[in-house]
C-alpha cells in the first residue's frame, strides 16, 4: 500500500431539489463519483456543460453539501466536519472561479480582496497580511500598483490573475480550478494555463482542474477524468487517454478536437443527438442514447468502472470487444 492520496472522493452524489414543496423533478447532477488525487498532482475533470463538473468541484470544497459520499483531505473527512472546524480548514483548499467578472467584489480594492481570506483566518498582523497579499500579486505577474485599484479597471485575463492570487494568498495545498480559462479570449487562455502550471509546479500544489476542453487539459493534467451526465466514463493518465482512449464517449470527444492527430482522423465520429436531461437520465449506461456502439444490454446495467490498463479504467460493458480502434458500430 502506497501513501494515502491527498484528496480522496468516494461515492460522491449530489441531487438538487426534490425535497420540500417544490414539484420540480430531482436533478441528478452527480452520481456515485469516486476518484483520488495524489499530493502534488493535477487531475483534470472533463465533460460537456451540465455534466456536473462545477457541482463536483464545489462539493469537494464543501461549498455545497453533497447528498451522499465522502471527501477526505489529507485523511480528514470534510463531509463530516462541523461548520466551525470546516472554516478553519478552508485555508488549505481554495477555489478558482470560471467567471472573472462575477468572482471579484465590485466594492473592494484588489488589496482588500487579496487580504480578505487572511483576515478571516486571522493570519499574522495587518502588516504580514499586506506583505503576503503583495507577494501573491507578484506571483501572478500583476503590477504592484494594482493593489489599490478596483476590479472593474482590469481585463478578463487580469481579473483571472487576481482570482488566482486570492486563492494563493492563503497558501493552500489544494486548488480546485473551475474552467479558469473558458471565459477568456483564446489569445489569453494559454498565458493563464501556463501561469497555473508554473505555480502548481513551483508550489507543489495539488489541483483539480476542471475544463470542458480536452485540449487544455492534456497540457496541464497528470490524470484525466471524463464525465458524462454526472458519472465517470473513463479515468486514465493524460498521455494514455489521448493515445489510447477506450470509452466510446472519450473517443467521440477526442475526434471532435479540431486538429486531428494523423491516423486518428479516419476514425472520426461525430456525437449526434442532445445530452439527456439529468433529471431523467437513461437507464443503464447514461451514454447509450448517443453511443454508436450501444446494444440492448447497455440499458440493463450501469456499467462499472473496470480496469482496462495500468491506472486506466473505463465504464463500458463492451470495453473488451471495442478494444481495437477499428471497432464497428453494432
Amino acid at each position: 500500500m502506497t501513501e494515502q492520496p491527498f484528496l480522496s472522493v468516494s461515492n460522491l452524489t449530489k441531487h438538487f431539489g426534490g425535497s420540500g414543496f417544490s414539484r420540480a423533478p430531482v436533478v441528478r447532477a452527480v452520481e456515485d463519483v469516486s476518484f483520488d488525487v495524489p499530493r502534488g498532482k493535477v487531475v483534470g475533470l472533463v465533460g460537456e456543460s451540465g455534466s456536473g463538473k462545477t457541482t463536483i468541484g464545489r462539493s469537494v470544497l464543501r461549498l455545497i453539501d453533497p447528498t451522499s459520499g465522502t471527501v477526505r483531505l489529507d485523511g480528514v473527512d470534510l463531509t463530516a466536519m462541523s461548520a466551525r472546524d470546516l472554516r478553519r480548514q478552508r485555508a488549505k483548499m481554495q477555489y478558482i472561479f470560471q467567471d472573472p467578472f462575477a468572482s471579484l467584489s465590485p466594492r473592494m480594492t484588489i488589496g482588500q480582496i487579496l487580504m480578505e481570506g487572511l483576515g478571516i483566518q486571522g493570519t499574522g498582523t495587518r502588516r504580514d497580511r499586506e506583505d503576503r497579499a503583495r507577494a501573491a500579486l507578484k506571483a501572478v505577474e500583476l503590477p504592484a500598483d494594482a493593489f489599490d485599484r478596483y476590479a472593474h479597471e482590469f481585463s478578463g485575463g487580469q481579473r483571472q490573475r487576481i482570482g488566482i492570487a486570492r486563492a494563493l494568498a492563503l497558501e493552500p495545498q489544494l486548488i480546485v480550478a473551475d474552467e479558469p480559462v473558458s471565459a477568456l479570449d483564446v489569445s489569453i487562455q494559454a498565458q493563464i494555463v501556463n501561469l497555473l502550471r508554473d505555480l502548481q509546479t513551483r508550489l507543489g500544489l495539488t489541483m483539480l482542474f476542471i475544463s470542458h476542453d480536452l485540449a487544455v487539459v492534456e497540457y496541464i493534467c497528470d490524470t484525466v477524468i471524463v464525465l458524462y451526465l454526472g458519472r465517470i466514463m473513463e479515468i486514465a493518465p493524460a498521455a494514455e487517454l489521448y493515445a489510447n482512449p477506450r470509452h466510446p464517449y472519450t473517443r467521440a470527444l477526442l475526434s471532435a478536437i479540431p486538429e486531428p492527430v494523423p491516423g486518428r482522423a479516419s476514425r472520426r465520429q461525430i456525437l449526434t443527438g442532445d445530452i439527456p436531461s439529468p433529471s431523467n437520465p437513461p437507464s443503464g449506461c447514461v451514454f447509450r442514447t448517443r453511443c454508436p456502439h450501444a446494444i440492448d444490454a447497455c440499458a440493463q446495467v450501469v456499467p462499472p468502472l473496470e480496469a482496462v490498463g495500468r491506472d486506466h479504467r473505463s465504464a463500458c460493458i463492451r470495453n473488451h470487444e471495442l478494444e481495437t480502434a477499428e471497432a464497428v458500430p453494432a
Binding site: R87, D99, E116, G117, I120, E141, L142, E153, I188, Q191
Partner: protein, 299 residues
C-alpha cells in the same frame, strides 16, 4: 506563450483608480434636480440647527402685547394666538420634526436590515415565517395601524419615533432580503465563504456594502415620508403634544376657521417649510437613486 505576449496584457494601464463612491458622486453631481434639492435643504438644516444663536425669541416666549400679529420687523413671521414668535416655533418645530424623522429612519433601517438579513440567511422556515409577518404588516391599512399604535404608545418624541419606525421597516426588509438572496449566490460571496467567512463577516463585509444603494435611497425617501407622518400624527394630536412645537402641531392651528382665514401666516409658514423640505429631500433621493444604480456601474 512568449514573454512579449505576457507584457502586452499586463502593460495595458488600468484607468485612474475610481472607487464605487467616487463614481456615485460624479453621477450625483451631474444631476441638476438633486443639487437643487441639496441647495434648498442645507440652508434649512443650518437655520434649524443654529437659530438660538441669531434669533432673539425663544419658541415658548409669550409676548402678550403681540398676539396674532402679522409678519413685521420684530416678529418676521408674525406671532400666534398667545403671542409666541412663529419663526422661533418654526425653527424649533423643524428641529423636532427633522429629529423625529431622522431617528425613526435610522431605527427602521437597523430593524429592516437585520430582519431582511435573518430572513435571507436563516433558512427556509425562518424566511417563510418572517416574510408572512412582513406581508401582514404591509397589508394592514397604514392609517389604522398608525392610529392604533399611536394610541398605545402615547404622545411625545420617543413614542412618535417608535410608531413611525414600526410602520416603515417592512418595506426595507423586503428589499434587503431580495438583495441578499441574490448576493448569496454570487461568486465573490461564495469565494468569501470558501475562505472561511462567518455569517457575521458575510453580512457586514459583503451584505451591507452591497445594500448601500437600497439603504441610501430608502433613507432619503423615508425621511420625507416620516416628516409627513409626524406632521399627520401631530396634526391629529397623537404625535408631538403642545406646547412643544413641531411642524405638524403648528398646522393644527389651521383647524380653526378664524386662523385659517385671518391669520394665514400661522399655518402657511409651517406648511411651506414642510412642503419645501419634503420636495427637496425627494429630489435628493432621486439623484441618489441614479447615482447608486448598480446598472450604471457596468459602463
Amino acid at each position: 506563450m512568449t514573454a512579449a505576449s505576457t507584457s502586452t496584457e499586463i502593460a495595458t494601464p488600468p484607468a485612474r483608480a475610481r472607487g464605487p463612491w467616487v463614481r456615485a458622486w460624479s453621477r450625483f453631481r451631474a444631476n441638476g434636480a438633486a443639487l437643487t434639492g441639496l441647495a434648498i435643504l442645507i440652508p434649512i438644516l443650518v437655520a434649524v440647527a443654529t437659530y438660538p444663536l441669531w434669533w432673539t425669541f425663544g419658541p415658548n416666549d409669550i409676548d402678550l402685547k403681540a398676539m396674532n400679529q402679522g409678519p413685521g420687523p420684530s416678529h418676521w413671521f408674525g406671532t400666534d394666538g398667545v403671542g409666541r414668535d412663529i419663526l422661533a416655533r418654526l425653527l424649533q418645530g423643524g428641529r423636532i420634526s427633522l429629529t423625529v424623522a431622522f431617528v425613526s429612519v435610522v431605527v427602521s433601517i437597523v430593524i429592516g436590515f437585520l430582519v431582511g438579513a435573518i430572513a435571507s440567511f436563516g433558512g427556509k422556515v425562518v424566511d417563510n415565517g418572517i416574510m408572512r409577518l412582513v406581508d401582514l404588516a404591509m397589508t394592514l391599512p397604514p392609517v389604522i395601524f398608525l392610529l392604533v399604535l399611536a394610541s398605545i404608545a402615547g404622545t411625545g418624541i420617543v413614542p412618535t419615533i417608535v410608531v413611525i419606525s414600526l410602520l416603515s421597516w417592512p418595506v426595507l426588509s423586503r428589499m434587503v432580503r431580495a438583495r441578499l438572496l441574490e448576493l448569496r449566490e454570487r461568486d465573490f460571496v461564495v469565494a468569501s465563504r470558501g475562505m472561511g467567512a462567518s455569517m457575521w463577516h458575510l453580512l457586514f463585509r459583503h451584505g451591507l456594502p452591497n445594500c448601500i444603494d437600497i439603504i441610501v435611497v430608502y433613507a432619503t425617501l423615508q425621511i420625507a415620508n416620516a416628516i409627513l407622518l409626524e406632521a399627520g400624527l401631530s396634526f391629529l394630536g397623537l404625535g408631538i403634544a403642545p406646547p412643544q412645537a413641531s411642524w405638524g402641531n403648528m398646522l393644527n392651528a389651521a383647524r380653526s376657521t378664524v386662523v385659517m382665514e385671518q391669520y394665514i401666516w400661522q399655518w402657511m409658514f409651517p406648511g411651506g417649510a414642510l412642503v419645501l423640505t419634503v420636495l427637496a429631500i425627494n429630489f435628493l433621493g432621486d439623484g441618489l437613486r441614479d447615482a447608486f444604480d448598480p446598472r450604471s456601474d457596468l459602463n
